[in-house]
Subunit: 166 residues, 6 copies
């Protein structure tokens, strides 16, 4: 694409990881929400295979450095783990803004991110689409398509039809 | 959604499955394409964990009954397996047709499927989008959005703006 | 264990499966709850690897035969799939009952299942434990341990301390 | 490969499956060996994602029909599950025999399977290779390579150098 | 939970990682035990999907810095890999001790870890439970429940019934 | 194995990671090849489970530090992600060379890597084997076995039959 590289914003974050092989999956269910409520930027599971034929789970938690101690305490309190691995990562983020488009399913916010100088990518806001889809009794796909189409139309008007200007 | 149920088309297919723990992943790479070229309707891998701590792979192959013997022969010849499980499945499919939309990236075919009486879902054809994205030096997301927008516009014209009619 | 085999209850169910490689994970999030609300007995995802290097997802849905057509319609309406595989399975279930135990975190229901003649296995009810853990500000592990301990105590009283009688 | 299709041997087997989300991975570790010791032909785990954000495990067990009731009893006794899905599969197997080759690491059995009329595939016996590798303090790869080379040499002698005859 | 944060113990460890796509799963089986025997603190596999449609495996090994060179040598000798990624992690651990409880299945050690000042979490020792379950011909679940119940009883006696004191 | 540790070569590389839950798998298919073409040393997917019940994918990309900015730009342009995690890893590599062996399927290159002083491990070059297997209409396994056997023979001649000298 002959990409012109953006001066992205970078920040130092903490990534916490732990392997869980001695607690039931059913206790893990509420954990991601608890971690996000306590200040984690993201949290996720990955399937792993540990010693002694154990099909286990790796928990990963991304957070600002100032939240790390509290999130470690929460992981220690709510999981069976006796050890948490911690490392520092740089996170690069794109400049963002939000716009709203009108669709036949109502207003939907679009998340816009500048991935190259003057070029923006757009994605409909999930929660807006979910609410609209439920209200109208249609699928998420229909609402997304309507939102993308509305945004495309607006873009073309604003940009005199020049795709390069996005 | 108060769904009215479609009279879908159903056909009897064969699903072949085998567990692979004694051949390298690198030999598995070309296998899916070989199976598809030999008449499989679909073929995929899933990660599994077998006895003796082995992180292995399950191969699944979907095919018409008349292709099953040849595909079993191909699996036996090209993998390490000594046994293949076979079972019959019913596959329900939606009525389909293809339409073409014009976008600023060129013509893109849309796959249309009638998921409820008179209601169609639409998806841009992957290979068309890939070719257009490469030609224009843009992302797949941009081409998909343009195709969906073009299709939405056409729909609205054809249907007098009634979303119910799709 | 020299198991005496139980006369289990068996019923015929339908298992629906489909591979999803052309819709975002974010649309899949609400799907399991939708399927369960519409009469599925269970629904789950598994990671698969499809042709053309696609890291995709297999959806599985277990349901009574009378729900199958409606659940297929829901899957067709809310996912990108054009085909759903269906097969019949026998499901064997254990005789069950529920009892309640008193713990320092309040009453907790125990799910009891007779896995061999006269032998019952017990598991605390997840939703009761979650509510109790949140109310008391403790971990799920603490509530489960308290419930299991309360149930063990009761068992020992009822059974004159004979573990064989459970 | 212009494959001539073998008259494979087919037999009817039972496939048992259950989803496990309320027991720790550590209890699952010994399960595969227990199942194999009790007559299962194969048993394996697959990572799945269940309702309520639970990263869970699917257990699959393949067995002859006459073993199914006992294996269900074992699964019910040793896991938390309350329901087991059962279905019938056909398993196609290749004709097999075993030969022994001499290597600088000692004798190694080769598993031979006739995958097309007159064409055999060969694989060193894992347990023989493991024992030889440990005795010699070398890697499994070295023992496998030596065994394959010994078998290739013997094949060439026996077959007057004609690869087609294998 | 209004957690009071523990002054955990932190130590610097090494995490080794490598992607394996050109060796059979069957050779990977003995690897975790070999690594643990050679001084690894933990070792595990994760399913990954590599270029050219290869369903492969990532090996991770956690170890003290002084063991890293020897473990890299072992990985290079026993796997097909040509490159190993290494990074430093901090591992936070909880203060621990072991206690023993008496159950109707015999003595079982409990692993205790102080996850907040004055609050301990307890887990039965897996190997003790496995031995007891096999000796008594019962499931792991029964032994765990008995051990947790015994520990709960002792706790209540020691602590005058105050759950806060654990 | 009483391993003598090699003075491996170590270099500092960058590992980029991002979680993808809002783009279809079908857009991910071409991504690995694009990343490798743009200078990535390796790139792979892993299945993860994110908040809100989303079965998602983690993308990992390994590259030299000078390529990191361009690869981040490519990931931002071609995926839906708004943030990329970056960290530094040391990569240890073995000394390598290539040799060619003659087989009944033609010449095959062997990748040789010195994993301990004076000890080399050998693996047939995948692309050579694939081309030879297709030309001869045989399986990859047959070509690998022929290549390993040819290399073993040459080794034995060169080394006076001493396995220690490899």
């Amino acid at each position: 694409m002959g990409l012109v590289i953006m001066p992205e914003r970078a920040e130092t974050l903490i990534l916490l990881e732990t392997n869980l092989d001695d607690m039931p999956a059913e206790w893990l269910g509420p954990l991601l929400d608890q971690l996000l409520a306590a200040g984690a930027l993201d949290a996720w599971f990955a399937p792993i295979q540990m010693k002694k034929n154990r099909p286990a789970v790796q928990l990963s938690v991304l957070c600002p450095p100032r939240q790390a101690a509290e999130l470690r305490a929460l992981i220690f309190a709510h999981t069976s783990t006796l050890g948490i691995r911690e490392r520092t990562v740089l996170r690069y983020s794109l400049p963002r803004r939000t716009e709203t488009v009108d669709t036949r399913f109502g207003s939907i916010r679009m998340k816009l991110a500048e991935y190259a100088p003057g070029r923006w990518k757009a994605a409909p806001e999930f929660e807006d689409c979910l609410a609209a889809a439920r209200a109208a009794g249609v699928s998420l796909a229909e609402v997304y398509a309507a939102a993308l189409a509305a945004w495309e139309r607006g873009e073309c008007e604003n940009s005199d039809g020049k795709p390069e200007s996005r």
